[in-house]
């Protein structure tokens, strides 16, 4: 599928094809291709066709079918869809049917978008390789013996594979940008609070974001446009007005000041480094002014991130106790046994590891040494960015220290896996918008993404740089 939001709209309004035909074709193709990647966990034919027919009826009646009319969209399986199984890629929720829609899902369908299925991911969005899914790993469509990245691996893979035009992921420490980089697609983490988290299964509430994946920058801008804005169901969603993102995509970055953080080039694989340096030169040729900047607290960000995210996860995952959420151990006698055995049977190894770490860092006597310390370091990371944005309009650098690795290659060393999040966690800690846009391939043909970061609520600057870069690359 090489279609875009704009091409589908033109085809629909030009009566070349109906939304129902697009949905049927998309479902058929996605189901046929899925054994190659395991990217979809659930397909939603009835729901998709109902929404597609509604779009067709609006067009027939001469009404505006909405900005995402007829576009086939896949949704990460940590985002709730009413009446459609939502597993969080966990045994704990394998039969969970949500009683309500996430706000992002509601806004997409209201805008004419057609949700065709739910995508695989790391269990409860915890992981950097998509190998922590209870329903098996996702394979990278570009290189099937390699991981697609994580945690939103399925949502990146469906775009790379062409089995959806848009998809939704979630990002807590890099879970949108890293798989986008590994699969060679565009992935966007908006400002914290820009998109409502209502209906996003909570992992680490102060860090969780919903964001788009697409093949073009323009399509991600269109999807964010629909989802962004205050939602009274999420008290942390922002009141800030939503600008017209697509209007900013004029391809002109002449005179923009772009910062390159020195700390983002420590520990970078040489082939990735070469591609990123070439990308920066391309931006310079487009008229951007490149400045070296410092983000001195970057080396401390992974430690602070894993304290905060595990602490919040241990609290958020306490609700899965065998009482309300479908699964209860069948062997348990007492209430206490029911809690313990349900959680032991329902959670995978990575979830248990994070619940344990989070419980430990919050336990009596350790709070000040870990959680409070991490919140202070988080403030320093945010201050680094605030100071940088006094000098530059946006920041560019790598997404990941290396391209997609082989399945199984890193599963036995959780510390090394955590450390590979070094270039993505700082953006989440500061809560600023950041994205990955394809910037080239290694000699082995593995995609490498360029990361673009901007100040709070300045998605416009981020998209402008990404779009100009994309135009110059194609």
């Amino acid at each position: 599928m090489s279609a875009t939001v704009d091409s589908i709209r033109a085809d629909l309004l030009g009566k070349k094809i109906s939304a129902e035909e697009i949905a049927r074709d998309a479902l058929k193709f996605a189901e046929a291709e899925n054994p190659k990647t395991n990217a979809y966990l659930t397909f939603a034919p009835e729901r998709a066709l109902a929404h597609a027919r509604a779009v067709d009826q609006k067009i027939a009646a001469g009404q505006d079918p909405g900005p995402l009319a007829g576009v086939p969209i896949a949704v990460k399986d940590v985002i709730l869809t009413r009446g459609l199984r939502t597993t969080c890629a966990s045994r704990m929720l394998e039969n969970y049917i949500p009683p309500y829609d996430a706000t992002a899902v509601m806004r997409i369908e209201h805008a004419g978008g057609v949700i065709i299925g739910k995508t695989n991911c790391d269990e409860f969005a915890m992981g950097s390789s998509n190998e922590n899914s209870a329903f098996g790993p996702v394979r990278n469509p570009v290189a099937p013996d390699r991981v697609p990245g994580g945690s939103s691996g399925g949502s990146a893979a469906v775009i790379a594979q062409g089995t959806a035009v848009l998809s939704l992921g979630s990002d807590t420490g890099g879970s949108i940008r890293q798989p986008a980089s590994f699969c060679g697609v565009t992935g966007v983490t908006p400002t914290y609070g820009r998109v409502s988290r209502y209906g996003l299964t909570a992992f680490a509430s102060s860090l969780d974001h919903i964001g788009p994946f697409s093949r073009t920058v323009r399509d991600s801008a269109r999807l964010l446009q629909v989802m962004a804005g205050r939602d009274e169901m999420d008290s942390t969603s922002a009141f800030a007005p939503v600008p017209d993102y697509v209007a900013a995509l004029d391809g002109n970055i002449r005179g923009m000041k772009l910062g390159v953080p020195k700390e983002f080039f420590d520990g970078l694989a040489s082939d990735t480094g070469d591609i990123i340096h070439a990308a920066i030169q391309r931006l310079q040729k487009l008229g951007a002014e490149i400045r070296e900047i410092r983000l001195p607290h970057t080396p401390y960000a992974v430690g602070a991130y894993y304290i905060i995210c595990t602490a919040e996860a241990s609290s958020n995952l306490a609700r899965y106790d065998g009482v309300r959420y479908t699964r209860r151990s069948e062997t348990a006698g007492s209430l206490q046994e029911m809690y313990r055995q349900t959680r032991d049977e329902g959670f995978g190894a990575e979830c248990k590891r994070r619940i344990m770490l989070g419980t430990y860092v919050l336990s009596a006597g350790y709070y000040d040494a870990y959680y409070l310390k991490a919140q202070k370091v988080r403030a320093l990371v945010a201050r680094d960015y605030a100071q940088a944005f006094e000098q530059v309009d946006a920041i560019v650098g790598p997404v990941s220290p290396f391209p997609a690795f082989k399945l199984g290659e890193k599963v036995d060393d959780p510390t090394a896996m955590y450390l590979s999040d070094i270039y993505t966690v700082t953006g989440d800690l500061a809560g600023i918008p950041c994205m990955s846009v394809p910037s080239g391939k290694t000699a082995e043909g593995l995609p490498v993404g360029l990361q673009i970061l901007a100040n709070h609520f300045n998605e416009t600057a981020m998209f402008r740089v990404a779009d100009a870069f994309e135009r110059a690359s194609t």
Partner: protein, 105 residues
Amino acid sequence: MRITEEEVRRVAELANLALTEEEIVRMTQDMDGILGHMDKLNELDTSSVEPMSQVLSIVSNSSGAEETATLRADIERKPLGNADALANAPVAGQGYFKVPRVIEK
């Protein structure tokens, strides 16, 4: 070692996780490695730094909202309803979630 198997057992109890002996051994190694990296934060003097607990407090000016704006208008709304709320319960009855007997007769 920063953490012992004994401590890991205690934390598992706090977290309501029934870990096997094998899991305890593995968990102790993994947690030790990660806590070792977290200890790096002690290199930083943070005595004069205010902790950051959420993002929007540092950008409240750009969000342009009063603090009280996080409260929605006090208008009655249809709730989820008893049947929907219980639909995912492993065991329910008479409009309630059911759990194993807690108080013996």
